[in-house]
Symmetry: C2
Subunit: 220 residues, 2 copies
Amino acid sequence: MNTREFKEKIYGEFAKVGKSLSSPKRLELLDLLSQSPKSVESLAKATNMSIANTSKHLQALLEAQLVTFSKERNYVYYQLASESVLKLSLALRDVAEERLAGIEETRQRFILRDNEVEAITIEKLIEKVKANTVTLIDVRPAEEYESGHIPNARSIPVTELQDHLEMLPKEKGVVAYCRGPYCAYATEAVEYLRMKGYEAWVLDAGTNEWMQLFGKESIK
Amino acid sequence: MNTREFKEKIYGEFAKVGKSLSSPKRLELLDLLSQSPKSVESLAKATNMSIANTSKHLQALLEAQLVTFSKERNYVYYQLASESVLKLSLALRDVAEERLAGIEETRQRFILRDNEVEAITIEKLIEKVKANTVTLIDVRPAEEYESGHIPNARSIPVTELQDHLEMLPKEKGVVAYCRGPYCAYATEAVEYLRMKGYEAWVLDAGTNEWMQLFGKESIK
DNA sequence: ATAACATTCAACTAAATAGTTGAATAGATT
DNA sequence: AATCTATTCAACTATTTAGTTGAATGTTAT
């Protein structure tokens, strides 16, 4: 083996991982799996793909070893293979956010509803939680909350919010978070809560961003 | 814009970055550029590609904003656009190393010459440098050394090693490093030095790995 | 056993990609 | 002005990829 052959082998291996990140749909799958393990069916629904196509993309991720799966009843549950895969996905997002101007603008428009909805940072959240002036709610599906969540958050899936307003004292503000800065659930929750007369903010982060700051143990 | 359109837009943008990482040749280009800015010609030579193909891959990286360029005389020098791009490239390598068994095995065989060549870690290097029992040499091309190097390293490009043995006292060991754990220059240097009677090791890291540990300022 | 269900597989099409070749461009040198 | 040099561009080919459709597999419930 000469140097060129060596490089072709090594970069060929690296590219197996790289190729996994080259499709928008696979990136979306990885993001969903970073919240909690999921069945093929639920991933297909969430990404608006056919079951067969979803399965094929998952096979590609499996081939590159970015995911693993386990079978339960007649479902197959996929999950991220390790924390390094999460870090890779966040590193890719960092680059895209920093380098591609369209992203921030689109988020501003859709997630923040052109400033109709106000975001707060993790630092501000911590202040407000310490001062006991806000309730923190996790509006993702319950199983994602159970799989790991920000400390002191209460689980109220956005689909059930209207039935659980009694959990939210009106004299306190509300901070809602969901899958991360590009997930719309928290925005929907905040819009609803403001309509009901609450002071409410979206957190510009999710469980994974929290974990990057405070460690794996902090979200258990 | 509804949620699906938003996701398609956002993940479409993320995938622009992802697509850049899907070709072995582009990953190799990014790795080379992580050492120092380089001309199209020198990148073509180093990657064994035609000039035209190299240029085309660089255009792709430019489109995704992972690199920038500057013109000087009749050369075009490309460079990484920011540190976040370096972090992404290292995160991808981490995943590949952790998940794909073939990589470690191939490195063992080619870089460590099936254990004919011994590697040491950064921690061990620091001990040895403190104890003053080794000379640390940077065997990359001189301009890469000048663009940033590990503290206390001396620059002896591997191509000039045989003419500069006087810089290496025989009573001390030698640690050689180059572009990182998958670069063969340090291996070649160590093989030569051992033949000449030195005790010599390759460092299992390069300037970028050092920088991740000790910060940007540490390599100036 | 049979039916229902979740997932995978195989065959196919349309589109995107990597690479080649040769020409075009544009700055520097003679 | 003419020539040389580094790079880019355009046209083309072979290969890979994303997605669809419909059938096959294998587990669970009736």
